[in-house]
């Protein structure tokens, strides 16, 4: 009986993780794509040098940070991957969403400052793991930061 109950609970958690997880992902991707288009006129680039022909009147550090958690389904898939090896594809969309969301948040901050461009953009990714007895809560933080530059008009 115990075996049956735990089998059913695993199945329910997987189903929940998969259905809710993919729905949330779909909604988030739609929102990310929409906002990426809105912020298209504010470039975030990895150049470190300032343009020679323009006068800079303001420069400030801007950051965007996102913390994301795994769902049960993704974690289960990754757990299987830990046994046989290979790319953990189930985490790819998660990290992709987090990186793009982090850039969007950084751009949002820069826009508030009236910046024209964000230079020297960098990423940091960190795993935040809370291990409580056997229950593992796996999550990541993705931080995007750069220098928001405002040119004289």
């Amino acid at each position: 009986m115990d075996a049956l109950i735990s089998l059913i609970s695993i199945f329910v958690l997987m189903l929940l993780g998969y259905s809710v997880g993919s729905f949330v992902e779909k909604v988030h991707y739609a929102s990310v794509k929409k906002r990426e288009n809105q912020f298209l006129d504010l470039p975030a680039i990895t150049f470190r040098k300032l343009p020679q022909d323009k006068e800079v009147i303001d420069a400030q550090l801007v950051m965007g940070s996102v913390v994301i958690s795994l769902d049960y389904f993704k974690r289960f898939l990754a757990g299987l991957r830990h046994i046989v090896g290979g790319r953990i594809k189930s985490y790819e969309t998660l990290l992709d969403r987090a990186r793009r969301e982090a850039i969007l948040r950084m751009k949002e901050e820069a826009r508030k400052l009236g910046a024209d461009v964000i230079l020297n953009v960098r990423f940091e990714t960190a795993g935040i793991k809370k291990v409580k007895r056997k229950q593992k809560v796996g999550c990541f933080e993705v931080l995007a930061y750069g220098t928001a530059i405002k040119f004289a008009k």
């Binding site: 009986m1 075996a3 049956l4 089998l7 298209l40 594809k89 189930s90 990290l95």
Partner: protein, 279 residues
Amino acid sequence: MKYIPRLPKENVNVSQTSPLKELFFLLAAILGILLLIYIVLGILVNVLIARAPAKIEKVLEVSLSKPFLIKEQTPTEQKVQQLLDSLVKFMPAEEQRKYTVHIIPKQEANALALPGGHIIIFSGLLKEVKSENELAMILAHELGHFVHKDHLRQLGRNLILILLLSIILGPDNSIVEAFQPMIMTAEYKFSRNQETRADEFALELLYKKYGHVGGAFDFFQKMEKKRNLPKFLRYFSTHPFPQERIKILEEIAQKKGYPIKKVIPLHLEISKAVMNRQK
């Protein structure tokens, strides 16, 4: 150079395969490997158990049957012990050794065979029992497990599998937890064959002692009446289903020409002492 803001046309950082497909293939591969390990282990354990020295059972006895070793036998237990001893006399000479009865207060109608010749009977089972022959059948069934070394086999497989899994995956891997029920289910299935073999042994022993097999089916018939589980749950059951059991046993009794005669009613003392113990 002019900067033209644009978004990448496609996302190279995300694989376009379906996660459900991935799950299916990974599960199939890993379950396949596990099944292979399980079959190999099963063969290995069978070979090893057949050659296991008595010392191994002694070690297992100390670690597993320990809670039952110190206790003095209650009058009930002594009564059941007498019946058990009289049964042991009819066992093959090489299997005759010390078997000890222990009764634990538990509602469930069940009995276990533990290393070191310890037979654990749940008091719930004694409540159901109405005749000596019926109880003898249950005891003989557990003796059958000892003769076939099922008590070691079961432990051997479980121990090796859990050991193996935790070595491969690490002790606190969520996959171990996920697979554990599946392994245990397979383990149950495996044990059903053992139960049938033990039943066969018990029937023969019962015939040797009483000259007939009356009362052998009584307990299973009671179980059948009690049980109304849905069909899909049958797979998860440790013992073969009572109805199947009775059918198999009746077939054997018919084939070997075992007669069915009147049963000996059980002495009241047992039932009384059980009640006292439960309080």
